[in-house]
């Protein structure tokens, strides 16, 4: 199986002996070209043009993150899996407001289902917060039941915003004071929890984009988010479903097992960022999470969390082509 490589150090990436070398003054590391799925570049990385053309020839995207760990952009190789038919159908689904709302609603349905799964777990296992978390879960359900009356995308997004807010309030009940969210802040995040969420979300966003590259879907036509908004917005849509499954659960693990300490964070002009050490811990967990497998009911075999993202994209293609109605993934485990 191909792997993702995360480069936190500064250095240069070059093509040498028909494979990829990462070099800097103290080390040299060889990345086997046939084993790279995508590269996540966090450090100050230089590229030789040889490596750029080689990676695009092999269809390997590179995702760039700046010094603060925020997503900057991707080197998205030339699309090789193109299907005019699917693109036209994707656009058709966007232009027809009824069908667009249907798909957009499905993404929220998936996200909401997974959020509830996370909360139910705590309502079940932690007696001290059982009641409060249970109440939040019920309010989220009520909020979600209003979704079917939504007639426009902005009103759907409002519902989604409310669900998230309730969810974050519930998390504040569960976790120690140090990890309160209070209010979701981005660019820059203002406290530890916000920092972790932002860092994780940008990872999911990039992983999803890498997966979209391996399907015939066009990453710019999206349904819940506006396509012309910015970036490859289809990946923002699909990420919604996976954030609670991947990011939130990793954060829970990191906090519950006390894997983070103050040296994992660095404060800078009133904001919070992950330090080198923090990033490393998070990335390691993230990589392991993506490789974790579960038994898939429909396929009757073990699939990794990463292939779940791919399967989700296949389901979306089927939906837009009118083969099979899309049913978002909600954790069954």
């Amino acid at each position: 199986m191909r792997e993702d490589f995360y480069i936190l150090q500064d250095g240069i990436l070059k093509r040498k002996e028909n494979t990829v070398y990462f070099e800097n003054k103290d080390s040299r590391k060889i990345l086997p070209i046939n084993k790279i799925n995508s590269i996540f570049a966090y450090g100050n990385l230089s590229f030789s043009s040889g490596v750029v053309s080689y990676l695009s020839k092999e269809g390997i995207p590179i995702h760039f993150f700046n010094y603060y760990g925020f997503y900057e952009g991707s080197m998205y190789p030339r699309e090789t899996l193109v299907s005019g038919d699917l693109v036209i159908r994707q656009a058709e689904n966007y232009l027809n407001s009824e069908r667009r709302l249907c798909l957009a609603g499905k993404f929220i349905e998936g996200a909401c289902g997974n959020i509830l799964k996370n909360l139910r777990y705590y309502a079940r296992t932690r007696e001290d917060v059982q009641e409060a978390v249970g109440d939040y879960a019920t309010s989220i359900e009520t909020e979600f039941s209003r979704l079917k009356d939504a007639e426009t995308i902005p009103s759907m997004m409002r519902t989604e915003g409310k669900i998230r807010e309730l969810y974050y309030n519930a998390l504040d009940e569960i976790f120690p004071e140090e990890y309160r969210i209070i209010k979701r802040t981005r660019r820059p995040p203002e406290n530890k929890m916000n920092t972790l969420i932002s860092f994780g979300n940008s990872l999911v966003y990039s992983t999803t984009l890498s997966e979209i590259y391996n399907t015939q879907l066009n990453p710019t036509i999206s349904y819940l988010h506006e396509p012309f908004e910015r970036r490859f917005s289809l990946s923002l849509d699909v990420s919604e479903i996976f954030k609670p499954i991947l990011v939130d659960r990793i954060i829970f693990k990191l906090i519950n097992k006390n894997m983070l300490d103050d040296s994992c964070f660095r404060g800078e002009i009133g904001n919070m960022l992950l330090s080198e050490k923090g990033k490393k811990i998070f990335l390691k967990e993230y990589d392991e999470k993506l490789k974790t497998t579960i038994k898939h009911k429909g396929l009757n075999r073990n699939v990794s969390y990463k292939s779940l993202i791919r399967l989700e994209l296949y389901k979306i293609s089927k939906h837009v082509l009118g083969v099979e109605d899309y049913k978002p993934l909600v954790m069954w485990w």
Partner: protein, 87 residues
């Protein structure tokens, strides 16, 4: 499957073998590579190596296992290379 390749080839060919294997697997120490391969990749590697070496004098051994966890890997001393994917 997880494969360990150990080779002992003539000096003239050692570079060719090494740089070819680097495209697929992790270099562990002199003349040893290991890594996760698909069946197809494994076949491809074997046939390419067959072309590269001189069968009368060189020798390559492939140790393969269904999963890395079935190989009881232990080590001593300082490893020569770091094979992690977080750099």
């Amino acid at each position: 499957m997880y494969v360990v390749i150990v080779y002992d080839v003539g000096v003239e060919r050692v570079n060719k073998v090494r740089s070819f294997l680097r495209e697929y697997m992790n270099w562990v120490q002199n003349s040893v590579f290991e890594g996760e391969l698909t069946k197809a990749e494994f076949l491809k590697i074997k046939s390419r190596l067959k072309e590269l070496i001189q069968e009368s004098s060189d020798h390559i051994i492939f140790y393969s296992s269904r999963d890395r966890k079935y190989l009881g890997i232990e080590d001593l001393g300082t490893p020569k290379a770091d094979t992690s994917n977080i750099i």
